[in-house]
Amino acid sequence: MIKLLLEITDLAVEVSGKEVLTDVDLYIDKGETHVLLGPNGAGKSTLFMTLLGFPKYKVTRGEILFKGENITNYSTTDRVRMGIGVSFQNPPAIRGVRLEDILKVESGADEDAEELDPEVMELVHKLKFDEKFLDRDVNLGFSGGEVKRSEILQLLAQKPDFIMFDEPDSGVDIENVELLAEQINILLEKDKKIGMREKSGLLITHLGYILNFVIADTAHVLMDGKIACSGNPAEILDDIRKEGFKGCVQCCKVH
């Protein structure tokens, strides 16, 4: 039997007593990049948090397999240690915890280490940060673009096998979208031949601008907690641009 990297079957999720996701099936193989589209409130972020194992998101049905293991009841820590990573849409600021402290943990350095790995330092500079910035409390007073860059930087230090990006491009200027896309391509090993890629990704985007730079294999449209359709990213985006999510509602009815 061939094991996929991530297999989500028949998933239903409840948040604060409300069913937000119903009947979600999603399969992502090693080396693939999928896009998740859908209107505000459709449940995209909810799917991410559920895959991460945040306690508020209760799986009421179905299961999640990662690397062949049923992780439905695993803690977030265990999932992350198995190779799941995420960049958040709106990460919290933590007073007194510096970006550098987190990078140390992620890159596997000792917490007491005086300095970051030179390799990580190189990443810091690539993302247009300097030493001073590392000293700042994480996300505290970061600009929108800085938040997104810091999230990607953390993923680069962490090197996960399956990465979820929640709107990495929203609120980011054109120049920085290209920079972020470049790093996302590195994270997803886009420089390697298709068959050689080991890393996979699931990317939420509203405008799809970042897809001009990050090639995705498949797109899914999430409507009202269900996957309405899946297919070629360019075609689906094109439809949505032309008719909005109306078309997808019809799709939903057909399915």
């Binding site: 820590t77 919290p92 933590i94 007194g96 915890v97 402290d101 987190i102 943990v105 992620e106």
Partner: protein, 410 residues
Amino acid sequence: MLQSTLKKAEKAKEKKALYGEDIDLEKFIKEEADEHENVTKATEVPKKVQESLLKIGVDPSEKERSGTFIQVDQSGVCTTCASESVEIMGLNVALDKYKWLKDYMWKAVAPDTDKYTAQAAIRESKEYPSGYFIRSLPDSKEIFPLQACMFIGDEQVMQTAHNIIVAEENSELHIITGCATGEDVSSALHVGVSEFYLKKGAKITFTMIHNWAEQVEVRPRTGIMVGDNATYISNYILTSPVKSIQSYPTAYCTGENSRVVFQSILGGLKDSVLDLGSRVLLEGSGSSAEMISRAVSKDQSQVYSRGHLAGRTQNVKGHLECHGLVLSDDSMIYAVPELEGSATELEMSHEAAVGKIAEEEVLYLTSRGLSEEEAASMIVRGFLSMDITGLPPELAAETKNMIDMSLKGM
């Protein structure tokens, strides 16, 4: 000692302190001042003392220190000074050397404040004045700090100390002090009376780390007189268990444009009862104060974080801030910020918040691979590790390390 001082002290012998559990002073042994041997260098004090010193920022190698004073129980055992700008010596020595010093005794702390000050005053008059005297000479600026340590080495002792610190006009003085207890001491009492006098344009930074044993009771009494254009900065760190500590240092900003900063990091652990405050009386025109505390309560600890800011003349300003994190259901934080304004044209504010760790923050860190415990600990350490201001760069870096070290166990 002045007869009037002694008389006041005698009268206050039974006077309970306003805050903190009352302690029966009879339970404790009063050791003689020559019980412990004198040495000429900090590296010669007993090993068990040296090991504790490092934990409280007092470096036995005396590297980058301008001088050292170590008191063990009631005995001043080590005094060294490597600077021309500052003086450090046992209070008894200083009283013989400087006739004027008696005028600084019990002027910033009243001998009849409570039974503890009374006890210290009476004992000092009957036996031998313990504690240290520190002075920075006029117009001097010594960037290397002086270090002083109060160490309790024997079981059941009552350690009393009377410290006088004088910063002469336009001088700058940095002091690191720590208090610790020997590993084998389970019960003891420390009463430390500290009086600070900052003359015109002087600056003192006073960084203090407490590392007592679990059954030790501590009652420091501190008064600070701040003259014209003078600045006093206090950094206080306590992150180890203690039976009880109660202290409420008071700064008198009588000088024009005088300034005081109190910063405290309080970690309540096990059964500790911490009752710590700071009080600033703004009495000089243009004087100002900032009082910031961060408190965390764990286990069964009780933490009282008090602050009192009084504006008593025009054109003064002050800010009082206490933030607390309650980490266990059996622990407690009680924040009492008080503002008192008795003049027009003043600007005073306070900010107090007591809460729990934000779950969202813990989750964020677990999504980076930390366990929940590791995440909580990182957040708590971050919460407590405030930026310490007012120190020269080298000392600031060292102090930061000291704080990081103190926060390891949190």
